[in-house]
Symmetry: C2
């Protein structure tokens, strides 16, 4: 327990909401909150020279993780890193060309390439775990720190395609023509992701999130077989307790996965993230559970593009999301339905930082108002 | 009624299934079935010089529409055209650069640009209606001819973005910051699409389909307001009877719209198309209706990328789709749940034409087998 001396978490609303415990406001954080929409982020990235230069330098990674917290009253921090660090550690050679997405030097499309894959030595990812510890120290108990990884399927998409894709042709060719190879890749990915997240927990992560960013491109049936089953395999292997002896909630987000919420309800995790196509009232009824009963906390789900509206429109859209979920339970003596406000995908680089202020303020004030007893005539 | 002399339709299984009438097999056609995966299509396109050269020439459009019917036992033909002909006729200047998607010379992002929009003179789209009549004649009653248009929202996406997009930033900026302008654009689009489809019906189209290709990028709530309401406005204005006096079924396909099937069930149309993320058994239970009762026919929903599997895998995936829907009703005396087999999106240019043969054969043979009474022990 090298790091059990971390400062106690003062604002633990995010962790409490993850565990379906009552909070006095709806906690909010934003996927990709440390990102290019912030001028201070761009300045640090310019210093670092490249995205990977930023992600692999503990000081830079700590600095950019904390930047959005200086501007906004966010209720959680998330490790600054990329979902593709694991396949990079497998030797595939990750790079980010300027103005483009991620790209691997090698791709995995045939039996020989699959045979070379193995769970990577976690020491190759030491820079990530060091960043987790550094960030947790720098946070000094302000808000909790979330660790994360791409899901086995999402990593496989990039590993097979070799880059982003708009049709997932290569990965689906492998999946439909050689499902045996696909399963091999996914099993290795799942065990790698589990080891990776466990190391993040040991380094100080207080919650861990699996980003199944591309689960939604799969057909019904294929999703359950090639994505969900391997996310479940990750979850089964995760540590349940952090270095401070507290439970580590596990969040799973499948973009485009709204149709499979019933399947995802069976996952051994605390929180399900949903994108903006999902009706939060229906999702709460499906998986949110009752007061005193089991269920999942829900995270989401504002369309990131709603931030392109006027600040007044942003606040209005944020209130709509909170109203759709409805009042979370307020009984401090038990668990019940809870909501963590987020976007339904990463924030766009084209977002005006002032609009993010309007968003965070609206979430905090309206979610407090929702919890006030209504005067009845 | 200039064209009431069209030959009677010999294989009307598609039209019957649209009207929820029993058929002896599940009819099948493929979105973008006349496309670049066919070498004969590429040859004709090369002759035409460009995509628009192909689409605006009645003889070429007729030729390529019929090409897939020469190879495969498809149960319907669909007009060869593009979903963006209507905004082109509005004066936005459509072009297709080689290897790229569609692009407009002008885009519609502000009040001045919106003020210039109007329902176009349908004579500017005469080439489309002439193609419909020419194709219907050339089909000579072999299978029915489907006409189509993009949905008001989908047209608006391209009109505002000026091209395809991966984040829909401009159209969503307009929608969230100036919803009044967005509604103006959508109202004009809806009335244009209705006029356009009615002209196709008058020219000989036997069914019409609205492609809401980008409805799925909208948030819950925004979809109902900005896409579904305007699709409904189109449907309200459509002719119900074709030039031969027969009913003209109306199909609506929202890619990524599976979560909104309950909302779409209220549309005044006969068929709902669904993509591969939808479970057809659930969709049938939701909107398919009972024997003798009201309901929608369902169209879909194989992942086009499944065609990258081996022919045996293609056939197996096709059977899974048919099995998911289950046996359509077989009572010739009444209406009931029916299924039209299709992909969940347009066929990829990288598809092996032989795999399409495997698909069509599997659909026909397995769907006939499904209808056989099962011997019970």
């Amino acid at each position: 327990m090298p790091n059990s001396s971390f400062a106690p978490t003062r604002n633990d609303s995010f962790l409490r909401a993850c565990m379906r415990q009552a909070t006095d406001h709806t906690p909010v954080w934003l996927m990709r909150q440390a990102g290019r929409y912030l001028p201070e982020y761009c300045a640090t990235r310019a210093q670092a020279g490249s995205f990977m230069g930023l992600a692999t330098n503990v000081d830079f990674a700590t600095e950019v993780t904390l930047q959005p917290l200086e501007r906004y009253a966010l209720d959680a921090a998330i490790l600054f890193s990329d979902i593709l660090t694991v396949p990079d550690a497998m030797g595939l050679g990750l790079s980010f060309a300027m103005g483009e997405g991620p790209r691997f030097a090698k791709n995995v499309r045939n039996e020989a390439a699959v045979a070379e894959l193995a769970v990577p030595d976690m020491n190759k990812l030491r820079y990530v775990f060091d960043a987790v510890t550094s960030i947790r120290k720098a946070l000094d108990g302000r808000v909790p720190l979330i660790g994360f990884s791409g899901s086995p399927w999402t990593l496989a998409c990039y590993m097979v395609e070799g880059a982003g894709s708009d049709d997932y042709r290569h990965v689906k060719t492998l999946m439909y023509s050689r499902p045996d190879l696909m399963h091999q890749v996914l099993a290795i990915n799942a065990d790698s992701v589990a080891a990776y997240l466990n190391c993040q927990i040991d380094a100080g992560a207080q919650a861990v999130m699996v980003f199944d960013s591309w689960g939604g491109v799969l057909a019904d049936g294929a999703f359950q077989t090639f994505s969900l089953a391997y996310t479940a395999r990750v979850l089964r292997q995760l540590k349940r307790t952090g270095v401070d002896g507290k439970p580590v909630p596990r969040l799973v987000f499948t973009k485009g996965g709204g149709l499979w919420l019933d399947d995802m309800a069976a996952l051994d995790c605390e929180v399900l993230g949903v994108d903006w196509t999902v009706n939060l009232a229906k999702a709460r009824a499906q998986v949110g559970g009752a007061v005193g009963g089991p269920g999942k906390a829900l995270q989401g789900n504002l369309d990131p593009n709603a931030l392109f509206g006027t600040p007044a429109a942003v606040a209005s859209e944020a209130r709509k999301v909170l109203d759709a979920f409805g009042t979370p339970h307020t009984d401090a003596s038990t668990t019940g339905p809870t909501h963590i406000f987020n976007l339904g995908h990463g924030i766009s680089q084209h977002t005006d930082p002032e609009h993010v202020s309007a968003l965070i303020d609206a979430v905090h004030s309206h979610s407090r108002a929702l919890r006030q007893p209504v005067a009845r005539n």
